[in-house]
Symmetry: C2
């Protein structure tokens, strides 16, 4: 189908530490992970509405291909969740440290 | 002095999580951190001798400016240490998780 690319997600055991660090090593992507920290699914357009859509597409892909988030298409919308359990399975404790620190830095 | 640039290191409290993640989010730099994991100071040329010197200069800088390593010049040589205590102060537990996982992935 034209314009409907398959959304590739690595399996849990394929998630590599270096890729997760690279994905989260960018302020916008760290903000996205933080916005999804509660575990609830959110619509792409709800998160970071002030960042141009073209840059967001790049960030969604970096987060999805590294295994940090899951993207689900429903009609013309994309929904996102953080792969919390998968990341915890692969790197126990890592995501909590990163998200807690990010929350602290913002005084949340 | 020509050719002797000052080596800037951020203070402990200036070390930012996103910069540390970006610095370690590269396979060569993750290898360097792992090679320094024991805490001992090592000479630049000892680590990753097979990677061209010009790329290594870029990696040393990324690690130093993010606060992951300390570089000390002695004559014409540069010595490196991992800023383990400083990173532990800023992000308790983070570095251990990353280094233990990297060691496991290599079957060490």
């Amino acid at each position: 189908m034209v314009g409907v690319a398959v959304l590739h997600h690595p399996d849990t055991q394929e998630i590599e530490l270096v890729d997760v660090l690279a994905a989260l090593g960018h302020p916008v992507r760290l903000d996205i992970a933080q916005a999804l920290a509660s575990g609830e699914e959110r619509f792409c357009g709800e998160i970071m509405p002030d960042v141009p859509k073209s840059s967001m597409t790049h960030h969604w892909r970096a987060l999805r291909e590294s295994g940090v988030i899951r993207q689900r298409r429903a009609g013309r919308k994309l929904y996102l969740t953080l792969r919390r359990d998968d990341l915890e399975t692969r790197f126990p404790g890592l995501l909590d440290i990163i998200l807690n620190r990010t929350a602290q830095d913002r005084g949340e």
